[in-house]
């Protein structure tokens, strides 16, 4: 019994995550609004964009004006339309990427944590290896060797991203599997699989959701970074990262690089706001604290 004053009765056992009341956090609201905003822009791009993103009909490198709010680029294309259509590349790809990484990583991590034996060391050493390579180097090498296009970029980032989930899920499975809660359930006769599904999985959801949301932010950044280096999306695709790359070459025409970068920034920050606020609710113990090799 703790000597700390019993201010509020302590909650024992496994806590159910509380999503209700999330909206009271301004950060979450802002993040959600921006994220939904971008999703809508992506969906309704053809209706919103003033011009065809690939059309090279306009005067070259014009500063922002009323006809071209974001100006035009070096090939005479409207930057605003390209930025709008860029959301159709970055966002769905990032979502796909995170979904794949989450699925793969969680599965492997759960298996490692639940079945132990040889599965555990194999999975863990693999994650160690992947962690040893900084994301971008590994991604660069993979895309370069498989061919620089956006599909390979996605693949490369999935390879880089899944270990975080594996680690988190494995840790959770191990700690939850060890609680008296689960032991009791087993004693009462639940089979292994039933215990896994009914008792262990629901408590995994919180930290994994937090990790996925924050990873979405990183995925957008990494995807843009690879495209910036020419290893992801290829011209003439209006990918934000590659647009910034071109903007670097023509940096006296500041609008060419600034606006796409701003798009990346706002999309990423939306998911970071959201993920950070979710973390307070769904993962109070901070299990999803990113990838690092602890002492254990």
């Amino acid at each position: 019994m703790s000597s700390a004053p019993m201010l509020v009765p302590e909650e024992v056992a496994i806590r159910r995550p509380r999503v209700r009341g999330l909206l009271s956090q301004p950060l979450a609201v802002v993040g959600l609004v921006i994220a939904v905003g971008w999703l809508l822009i992506a969906i309704f791009a053809p209706l919103i964009a003033p011009y065809d993103p690939l059309a090279q009909d306009f005067p070259l490198t014009q500063a922002p004006s009323r006809e071209h709010l974001f100006g035009t680029d070096e090939l005479g294309r409207d930057v605003l339309s390209r930025v709008i259509y860029g959301s159709r590349l970055s966002l769905p790809l990032a979502l796909l990427l995170v979904a794949l990484a989450t699925a793969l990583g969680s599965l492997l991590g759960a298996m490692a944590g639940y079945f132990r034996s040889w599965v555990d060391p194999v999975v863990m050493r693999t994650t160690d290896l992947v962690f040893a390579f900084p994301a971008i180097i590994l991604a660069m090498v993979v895309t370069a060797s498989l061919g620089p296009n956006i599909r390979n970029a996605v693949l490369a980032i999935v390879i880089v991203a899944w270990p975080s989930y594996a680690r988190v899920v494995r840790g959770l499975v191990l700690s939850i599997g060890d609680t008296e809660f689960v032991h009791a359930s087993r004693l009462l006769g639940s089979s292994s699989r039933r215990t896994l599904v009914h008792d262990v999985l629901p408590n995994l959801a919180g930290p994994v959701v937090v990790l996925a949301t924050l990873d979405l932010a990183n995925a957008i950044l990494l995807l843009a970074g690879l495209s910036f280096l020419g290893l992801g999306a290829q011209p003439p695709d209006p990918e934000w990262g590659s647009m910034v790359a071109v903007g670097t070459q023509y940096f006296q025409y500041w609008w060419m690089g600034t606006f796409p970068g701003l798009a990346i920034f706002t999309a990423v920050i939306a998911f970071n706001f959201l993920g950070d606020s979710l973390r307070d609710r769904l993962d109070p113990r901070g299990v999803s604290r990113g990838k690092h090799q602890g002492v254990a």
Binding site: M1, S2, S3, A4, P5, M6, L7, V8, P9
Partner: protein, 321 residues
């Protein structure tokens, strides 16, 4: 004049839902060289009341009332001065000797840092004093002990070290919050004997907080029984424990398993659960669990009446002699 005189101490804490009244009008006095026991179950406010005196409650806690320590009121003292005064004149021993030590600082560091801060003592002198105190609390090889870390010691040893640490600045008052609860039964007696001996050797005043009435009977000179943030009975310990008058005290004593009870005799518990702040019953806090409650117990808050050298907060007084 008493060393410490607490009058109408109230502690209210703001939480997410609504404010909780944790301590609700507590008054007692601790005299020099005496051991004052505060007994009660969890949630009774016994620890909070003491933390409030020392200004150790988190922000958002409001404390009212007075607590005159050596003539100065602690409650209204500005926090910087309060910290100085308490650090020098009051030693505090926590319940869990593992978590109340910093895991990464050596024992020597943790024993000497406050002495050096308050009195500017040199490192050598402070260490010398620490060694002397460690000897007094019967820690073997005290010089080496200074270089060790808390996790290298057993629970009982750690508690002894904690007591030594609390005495480094020669305080007038030692507050021990559940000092033996986290320890093995076999080790407890040793700690209690230690506290008693130290009290006698230094004319130290002690506030002993515990839920264990057995411990109380061994050590305390005076005793106050806390329940629901209030004192329900107080007085000289021996008298009170021999002839308790409040239904709660009596029930507590009866709940203690007695070594001479006949085998197979049922254990007495107190029906219901201890009152928790935020959901306190109206009137007398104990009335829902009391076998002697009458109608007025539900509506009127009983005052702590003085009967000779004892206090009793029960208008019914079913055990009056």
């Amino acid at each position: 004049m008493s060393l410490l005189a607490v009058d109408e101490l109230r502690v209210r804490v703001a939480t997410d839902d609504r404010p909780l009244q944790i301590v609700d009008g507590v008054s007692y006095a601790v005299d020099e060289g005496r051991i004052f026991g505060i007994a009660g179950e969890s949630g009774s406010g016994k620890t909070v009341s003491v933390l409030a005196l020392m200004g150790l409650l988190p922000r958002g806690a409001s404390v009212t009332g007075t607590a005159r320590f050596e003539g100065n009121d602690l409650v209204s003292m500005p926090s910087a001065r309060l910290r100085e005064v308490c650090g020098r004149e009051i030693g505090l021993v926590f319940q869990d000797p593992l978590t109340s030590f910093h895991p990464m600082l050596s024992v020597g560091r943790q024993l000497t840092e406050h002495l050096r801060h308050h009195y500017g003592t040199s490192r050598t002198d402070a260490r010398g004093r620490a060694v002397a105190l460690l000897e007094e609390v019967r820690i073997p090889d005290p010089e080496t002990a200074l270089e060790r870390y808390p996790h290298e010691f057993s629970g009982g040893m750690r508690q002894r070290i904690a007591i030594a640490g609390a005495l480094m600045c020669e305080p007038r008052l030692l507050i021990a919050d559940e000092p033996t609860t986290a320890l093995d039964v076999t080790v407890q007696a040793g700690i209690l004997r230690l506290i008693d001996r130290l009290r006698r050797d230094r004319s130290l005043s002690v506030i002993l907080i515990t839920h264990d009435l057995g411990v109380m009977s061994a050590l305390a000179d005076d005793l106050a029984i806390f329940y629901g943030g209030r004192i329900v009975e107080d007085g000289p310990a021996e008298e009170l424990l021999a002839a308790p008058r409040h239904p709660y005290t009596r029930a507590l004593l009866e709940a203690l398993p007695h070594p001479e009870t006949a085998r197979g005799a049922p254990l007495h518990g107190i029906p219901g659960a201890p009152a928790q702040p935020g959901s306190l019953p109206s009137g007398c806090v104990f009335h829902p669990r009391c076998a002697y409650a009458i109608e007025s117990c539900r509506t009127e808050v009983p005052e702590l009446r003085r009967i000779g050298d004892r206090g009793l907060a029960c208008p019914v007084d079913p055990f009056a002699p």
